[in-house]
């Protein structure tokens, strides 16, 4: 060993000392680290605010319902419908003397629930309407479908065709989850018909990593009017969540419309924190897209926007407009489905193509905070332009409001609304009108007419109409003029959902019809008007659909749906109701306000179901005229190739 340094011996000693020093240093370091870790955990512990709540494991059901209500629910008045809330009016879940056992469901009751003329697959679960369109003589309807059960899951695209949007024929599944980009779900999408005859389908796929992406698909054979087979674009996805958008907040692309540059424009709903937004993309070939900087619209506090829809309506004509229509006498409609509260909202406004902006006419009633298409169960709705009859048609998903046990037992869940035409209400200018497509009237069979029935306060009158589970009812009601003048003014705001329903009598209401009622009125579903004379003498009218007495079963929704409906000077109160087993669709004032509800009677079924007219107003007679049609079945069934087309 070379000794360069005179310190070598010292170095040896020094390094020996250094080794020991190193050990000491390490030990000291170790202790300090330990001390700092102890300090750290003490710091964290002191930050714990342990709020101890005595566990209520043995509390009764009614207490728990109340607690559930205050913590979880935003309140029935906010329109939040939660299955666990629906028992509040059913005696808080306690056993009620006289109420039948909790599961009276048997096959007779359950099989009665299937509808006769509303679209539904032969079995299993369905949700959103997809890609509705008219092509080569057939109306096409696609839908979210679970081939494996009566609950949401394993979603693929079901398919059906019809000549008239009423008589449907089931076709094979259009698309299944067979690609990495939709293996976790072939979700909602829309169709765009190009002027050159191409059919473009854009849809959301949930990828194998549960990222939401947009995919392109098109018919395998445009010469097949039934469009049975579909091809997915080999280079899918065509859109992935952009920067700033979370991978699970990007779904439901719309039908495209042409810009003045000749490009196609679509919008896709999303959210930023709690603000619902609509992203905009332009494309020339539906394969590559240019993200537009501006959001079509954004409304704080509304949460995720699903199933955005955007279309023009005519201010002059009674007809519909193609989605790309440009002109002067046009208003635009923007519609969103709020993930938060399961309701569909729309707003009328103007569209500025250059600025890529939709501005609602009434910002206080912008999308998500203003008008709803329907005040009952109606979600994920979508319109399309029907070029055959020059009208805009609306589809809406109507879910169940019973228990999963019943859905599993009956083997299916959900129906679609009867398709509705949508147009601007020219008389008010501030809302849309919806009305069942005229083709539904082809199902009308025998009718019964009742003219100028005078119904006294407190009266309930049975209407003699044969059967009462498949009906089309058109009714008009009038209140006594003298009663209107004499009635005191009130500044009470009537709210269907908290009103207590048809049994709570007021000066000028409720009055209307009991549908799906049994002879003893142990079960009945009132659809009724309630009029209030405001402090300025002006009348305010509400239309409600009351589920609270609709069934003796206590595992179904018992809520009261409805809203105020504008009634103009000189108008009678008009009501149309389609009754089809477990679905009741009500339209007030020509479709100004619509309410769809699901009803699950246990006694008022088959021949035992009846129709009543009632007047629970205290101060006025009600004069009613109505026509009631028996409705035929639509015989919705699978398509057989040897059938006449």
């Amino acid at each position: 060993m070379r000794n360069d340094s005179p310190y070598t011996p010292l170095l040896n000693n020094g390094s020996h000392n250094n080794n020991r020093n190193k050990e000491i240093h390490l030990i000291v370091f170790g202790f300090l680290l330990l001390a700092s870790l102890i300090t750290f955990s003490g710091y964290i512990a002191s930050n714990n605010n342990v709020v101890s709540v005595v566990p209520h494991a043995d509390v009764s059901f009614s207490d728990e319902v109340t607690k559930t209500n205050t913590v979880v629910s935003r309140g029935v008045s906010a329109g939040v419908s939660e299955k666990s809330n629906m028992f509040l009016s059913a005696a808080g879940g306690n056993k009620v003397v006289g109420e039948s056992e909790s599961f009276p469901w048997n096959n007779t009751m359950l099989s009665w629930q299937r509808t006769a003329f509303h679209f539904q697959p032969e079995k299993n679960w369905m949700n959103d309407p997809n890609g509705p369109m008219y092509y080569k003589g057939w109306y096409h309807f696609f839908y979210q479908y679970n081939p494996n059960g009566a609950v949401w899951g394993d979603i693929v695209w079901g398919h059906a065709v019809s000549r008239d949007m009423i008589h449907w024929l089931h076709l094979p599944l259009a698309m299944v989850a067979d690609q990495w980009y939709d293996s976790n779900g072939v979700w909602t999408g829309s169709a765009t018909l190009l002027p050159d005859g191409q059919v473009i389908m854009l849809y959301t796929g949930s990828t194998n990593e549960s990222v939401q992406v947009q995919n392109l698909a098109y018919p395998a054979d445009l010469n097949d009017p039934l469009l049975v087979d579909w091809i997915k674009y080999p280079s899918n996805p065509v859109l992935v969540p952009p920067p700033g958008i979370l991978p699970k907040d990007f779904r439901d692309p719309t039908t495209a419309w042409l810009t003045s540059e000749g490009k196609w424009r679509i919008t896709i709903g999303s959210k930023l924190n709690k603000t619902g937004i609509a992203l905009v993309y332009d494309t020339v070939d539906f394969k590559t897209y240019e993200r537009k900087e501006n959001l079509l619209n954004a409304v704080p506090g509304t949460g995720m926007w699903e199933c955005v829809d955007f279309f023009p309506v005519s201010k002059k004509s009674e007809n519909g407009l193609d989605t790309s229509f440009k002109g002067d006498d046009v208003k635009h409609v923007m519609k969103v489905s709020l993930d938060d509260d399961r309701h569909d909202y729309y707003a009328l406004g103007t569209y500025d193509e250059k600025k890529v902006q939709f501005i609602a006419d009434d910002l206080k009633n912008d999308v998500g905070i203003g008008l709803r298409y329907d005040y009952g169960i109606f979600y994920a709705s979508k319109t399309f332009y029907d070029q055959k009859k020059d009208r805009r048609v609306l589809w809406g998903w109507i879910g169940e409001s019973d228990s999963e046990y019943a859905d599993v037992a009956k083997g299916w869940a959900s129906v679609q609304s009867i398709p509705r035409i949508v147009k601007l209400d020219k008389k008010t200018g501030s809302n849309l009108l919806q009305w069942p497509v005229a083709e539904v009237e082809s199902l009308r069979l025998k009718s019964d007419e009742f003219k100028n029935l005078k119904v006294k306060p407190g009266a309930v009158v049975s209407l003699d109409i044969e059967t009462a589970t498949q009906l089309d009812i058109i009714a008009e009601f009038e209140i006594d003029k003298e009663a209107l003048e004499k009635t005191a003014e009130s500044n009470v705001e009537y709210e269907c959902s908290t009103s207590g329903g048809a049994s709570k009598r007021g000066a000028l209401g409720p009055f209307g019809l009991y549908v799906l009622a049994d002879g003893d009125l142990s079960e009945y579903t009132p659809v009724y008007f309630y009029v209030v004379k405001g402090s300025n003498g002006k009348l305010k009218t509400s239309i409600c659909s009351d589920q609270s007495r609709s069934s003796l079963a206590n595992d179904v929704h018992k809520q009261i749906y409805g809203s105020v409906v504008p009634v103009l000077e000189g108008e009678k109160l008009s009501l149309r109701i389609l009754v089809d087993h477990s679905i009741v669709e009500s339209f007030a004032q020509g479709g100004r306000t619509c309410i769809t509800s699901r009803v699950y009677p246990t006694r008022a079924i088959y021949g035992a179901a009846k129709l009543f007219i009632f007047n629970n107003a205290i101060e006025t007679n009600v004069t009613a005229s109505l026509k009631v049609w028996q409705m035929n079945s639509a015989f919705i069934r699978p398509y057989h190739p040897d059938q006449k087309r």
Binding site: G93, V151, W152
Partner: protein, 175 residues
Amino acid sequence: MTMLKPISFLILIVCTNFVVIECRTIQPNDENLIQQICKKTPNYALCIQYLHSDPKAPSADVRGLALIMVNVMKNKANIAINKIHQLIGKSPPDQKEALDNCADNYNAIVVADIPEATEALLKGNPKFAEDGANDAVVEARGCENGFKGKSPLTAENNAMRDASAITAAIVRNLL
């Protein structure tokens, strides 16, 4: 120069302390998220207890906590089903129908509600998870109400109902 080592050790310790104390903001989740979430449920203590029983909870996000609760729901349902099977064999005749109904209720929870909730959470469509959890409350209540006299399943139904209500409340944060 010999001072350099202890000084550098000291600096290292101070830096470590600093980083470690600030860790509470860098970590993706910690005790505070669980507490925040549980405060918004109908039963704070039960929520804390259930979440803490899963080792994945401290590092889970809201969706992960919801999935943990769905698993708790599955356990409660299986406990109830086992008890129902035990009881069905030796029950008095006036309870037979109610027990059969309970079997159907819990079957719905296990074949429909729980798979629906799991899939909905995994795939990013949380409203269907809320549906599934809310329906499980309905099913438990239905089972309990089906007994004319005293229910032999009150404890199990309450546990099912509580776990499901907590799950629904947690899922609401995702909407």
